[in-house]
């Protein structure tokens, strides 16, 4: 099976943990919730001070829309992790 490469851009409070996107590789399709969980585990392992609530309160999105938890990611793609927003 082809690898699924997911690149996640960091925004807002996530910028504390790097300016470059974080890349993950999966051997099978994952839901948005599963990908978000993998991101959370990676950040917690890499940054001891990381507050896991930040991932819990964030969502994944592509250029066009916020992904639901059950959205299936079946192909390599670029996503963004969006913490709680405060524009305006």
């Amino acid at each position: 099976m082809n690898k699924i490469e997911v690149e996640i851009k960091l925004f807002g409070a996530f910028r504390k943990y790097g300016s470059l996107p974080i890349r993950f590789e999966f051997s099978e399709a994952k839901t948005s919730a599963e990908v978000k969980a993998v991101l959370g585990e990676y950040l917690q392992k890499t940054f001891p001070e990381f507050d896991k609530e930040l991932v819990q309160t964030s969502v994944l999105a592509n250029d066009k829309m916020v992904l639901s938890h059950s959205n299936l990611i079946e192909q390599s793609c670029q996503l963004a992790v969006l913490p709680p927003v405060c524009g305006g």
Binding site: K9, F11, G12, A13, R15, T57, S58, V59, A61, N62, D63, K64, M65, V66, L67, S68, A80, L82, P83, P84, V85, C86, G87, G88
Partner: protein, 156 residues
């Protein structure tokens, strides 16, 4: 007519006014400007930095502008938000609405800013005069984040 954008350059009021559509059927034009203020929750702010996910931002602005057609269907909407480093007093967001009558213009304008605050992928970091900085806590996004204000009699 709808114009939406997110930019890093300074928002210039005169340019906004000259680019906003003037329609003969519209007798009301309302502008809202959000500016950086020097205080928040008891702390003195030196400057702010806005972060934004540009492509999705423009889609969300356009979506919100389309929804505001409930009041501005025969008019014009302009939404511009700036990101990057902003100093005190600078404009962070500008919303212009033209409608035939003033009631719709005020309602559309209010709807748009309230929706931007809870739906646009934009984040604000405040830089305080004591040297500290903090990302402002915001509103969690979900797939269908819409704002319900009974006073505006809107439910989406």
């Amino acid at each position: 007519m709808i114009k939406c954008s997110i930019q890093t350059t300074v928002i210039v009021e005169s340019a906004l006014h000259s680019e906003h559509a003037i329609l003969p059927q519209c007798g009301a034009e309302v502008w809202f400007f959000g500016r950086v203020r020097n205080h928040n929750l008891g702390r003195q702010v030196r400057s702010v930095e806005y972060d934004a996910f540009g492509p999705l931002c423009e889609n969300v602005f356009r979506e919100i502008a389309e929804e505001s057609r409930k009041w501005s269907s025969n008019g014009a909407v302009t939404i511009v938000h700036r990101h990057g480093l902003l100093e005190i007093g600078e404009i962070s967001v500008a919303i212009g609405v033209s409608t035939p009558h003033r009631d719709e213009a005020y309602k559309a304008s209010r709807y748009i800013i309230e929706q931007i605050k809870v739906r646009a992928p934009i984040w604000k970091k405040e830089n305080y005069i004591d040297g500290e900085s903090e990302w402002v806590k915001g509103h969690e996004l979900c797939q269908h984040a819409h704002f319900h204000d009974p006073e505006l009699d809107l439910h989406t």
